[in-house]
């Protein structure tokens, strides 16, 4: 019983960390139709910034997160302007190649400047200790990640379904030319959505660093996991991404607890089964 609980809590926290990182990717793919394999690179960049701010400059955790998000978005602007914009609407293969190229560059450069070692982001006192939630004590950081995940999910849902920006976004996605004709500045919508996606990747990269440690190969190591989450959940679907993260987080965590010697075997077997049964993901839109 205790094991099941532990697995459940770990899986949930891990799933939520995945969710925060992946939902940005899901939005870029579902809404902007860009297969961005470099998504993880942004999460990693944020991790490096946060680590530098918190560890080397001694700034607070919250400030480090904030700086990481802002810094990553600023870094992403020229990339969006000069590289990503060239592949909107291109074939999948082109997008894959370009974004793998970006990923490789980021990995190479990061390693050149920061070396191959793991970078930690020190947690503040309040998050480092366990919390008693009645039936069990849980690391406060896990609770924090879960809360962040739920807040992000709710916030995004509100943004897309209930705000003026959300309406413009959905209109642009449905029919960019028509939205343009109706006065929606689609370029701006794209740029803002891209920034939101990157910001979420950055946020997830920092708060999820306990689960997905920050190192130069981060972007490549977890590229597959992120892609898998999006295609299992269905690109562009928030609910789908939540469910995919929870299911895959559960499969992964359970596998690691119960059959560590099998590594990721069950994770990938589950992925193949799910994708074969739901080729568009749990909540993918029919094309």
């Amino acid at each position: 019983m205790q094991t099941i609980l532990s697995i459940g809590i770990d899986a949930f926290a891990y799933g939520m960390a995945l969710f925060i990182i992946c939902i940005g990717l899901s939005l870029t793919m579902g809404l902007m139709r860009v297969v961005n394999l470099a998504h993880g690179a942004f999460a990693m960049i944020a991790g490096y910034i946060a680590s530098y701010a918190a560890r080397d400059l001694g700034l607070g955790y919250a400030i480090a997160i904030f700086l990481a998000i802002i810094g990553t978005i600023i870094l992403s602007i020229p990339l969006e302007r000069f590289l990503f914009r060239r592949i909107y609407g291109s074939s999948e293969l082109t997008q894959v190649l370009m974004t793998i190229g970006i990923t490789f560059c980021v990995i190479g450069i990061t390693n050149y400047f920061f070396g191959p070692t793991l970078k930690t982001i020190p947690l503040p006192e309040s998050l480092a200790q366990p919390v008693d939630v009645g039936f069990k004590t849980i690391a406060a950081h896990r609770l924090f990640v879960m809360t962040c995940g739920l807040v992000v999910a709710a916030g995004l849902w509100y943004l897309i379904e209930r705000t003026a920006f959300g309406i413009r976004l959905r209109a642009t996605v449905d029919n960019a030319a028509m939205a343009d004709a109706l006065g929606v500045r689609t370029q701006v919508v794209y740029a803002v959505s891209f920034a939101i996606a990157i910001g979420l990747a950055a946020f997830g990269g920092v708060v999820g660093a306990e689960f997905l440690p920050i190192e130069p190969y981060y972007a490549l190591r977890y590229m597959v996991t992120f892609l898998v989450v999006v295609s299992v959940g269905g690109a562009g679907s928030i609910l789908g991404a939540v469910i995919a993260c929870l299911v895959l987080g559960a499969v992964d965590t359970t596998g690691r607890y119960l059959m560590p010697e099998f590594g990721n075997f069950f994770f990938y077997a589950a992925v193949i089964a799910i994708v074969c049964i739901f080729p568009r993901g749990f909540f993918g839109k029919a094309q």
Binding site: E92, I100, F104, I107, Y112, L227, V230, S231, F265, C276
Partner: protein
């Protein structure tokens, strides 16, 4: 344009002839380049043999991606299947090199059949993800089945018998290299026939518009599956060659990274061109050898920059560039050259 008196008659096609001449010249060039490598870099024959093995992998990707338009990041699964099959057979007493190559081809083909059956169920992103998941699954399985595969230590100590019972695989890798070169040339010629057969044309059609092919009354799935099997056999031969020449099989032969790198080589050389696949492999691995000796991370940065540059500036890869620069070499199957 020849509008002359031939309004109702099609001139006897001059195409096959000129095409054949071009291909013969191409094959001779490949052999010449291969032999030149043999004389010029006698100390690097192991690397050159590795280049040939990977070139086979890249050719196999070209069949699927370049000729059929199915994007895959998991082709190393087929390469690794061939490598492990040959390796395991060798450890268990099958030491005749041609038999081992055959075993690799069969294993690759079977893996290709499996991979195609799974991947062709999906489209687009899901298909790409399936390809990655399959190679990762193979990787994990090989890691787990360490009793047969040696797990993360790799399968070492393959003792391959002499080729045709005469030529020992020597320390300098001369036999291995020449054997590999011969394999490559034979496979290249076979693939030339495959891609210019009716089947090859059908694949090109599917790549451009599967609905049109359906409206012509042809089923798409079996054709693509067939190509997956052929491509698996080619990749499997590449894997078996790698196993025979290095006498070890490592988990890296089943990796996502190898798949991605091989795809990069293909794109660099030019999708949908068999020559492009070879050129891309040679250039990529040559540079890799030089640059990564200095610093492996510079190499990553360079590959990344190169990929971006190819996408932005030369979507057809090097062979595409060559086509643009040298119109006489136009692969334009229209003939009228």
């Amino acid at each position: 344009m020849p509008t002359m008196a031939q309004t109702e008659k099609l001139a006897a096609a001059p195409i096959p002839g000129s095409r054949a001449v071009r291909d013969v010249v191409g094959v001779i060039l490949i052999i010449a380049a291969g032999l030149a490598g043999f004389w010029l870099f006698p100390d690097n024959l192991a690397l050159l043999t590795r280049v040939i093995a990977v070139a086979l992998l890249v050719l196999s990707i070209d069949l699927v991606v370049g000729y059929c338009g199915v994007a895959t990041l998991g082709q190393a699964a087929l390469f690794g299947a061939g490598a492990y099959a040959a390796g395991i057979a060798c450890v268990n007493g099958v030491t005749e090199p041609l038999t081992l190559i055959l075993i690799g081809a069969v294993a690759g083909a079977v893996a290709g059949l499996l991979m195609g059956t799974i991947m062709l169920r999906a489209h687009g992103l899901a298909q790409l993800v399936l390809s990655i998941a399959i190679v990762q699954l193979f990787h994990e399985a090989a890691n787990k089945a360490s009793a047969y595969t040696g797990g993360s230590d790799g399968l070492a100590g393959l003792m391959v018998g002499p080729l045709f019972g005469v030529f020992e695989f020597d320390l300098w890798g001369q036999t291995a290299y020449l054997f590999g070169l011969a394999l490559l040339v034979v496979i290249f010629i076979v693939l030339k026939f495959v891609v210019s057969s009716p089947f090859g044309m059908l694949c090109r059609g599917i790549k451009e518009d599967p609905i049109r092919i359906g409206a012509m009354g042809a089923f798409v799935f079996p054709v693509l599956l067939k190509m997956f099997v052929i491509s698996g056999a080619v990749a499997g031969i590449g894997g078996a060659l790698a196993a025979i020449s290095t006498q070890v099989v490592g988990l890296d032969s089943l990796s996502f990274e190898l798949s991605a790198n091989a795809l990069v080589m293909l794109v660099l050389g030019g999708l949908g061109s068999l020559y492009g696949a070879l050129v891309g492999t040679v250039i990529f691995m040559g540079f890799e050898h030089v640059v990564s000796a200095i610093n492996p991370f510079h190499w990553m940065t360079m590959v990344g920059a190169l990929l971006i540059a190819v996408v932005l500036a030369a979507p057809g890869g090097l062979s595409g560039l060559a086509d643009r620069v040298l119109p006489s070499r136009q692969r334009n199957r229209g003939g009228r050259a």
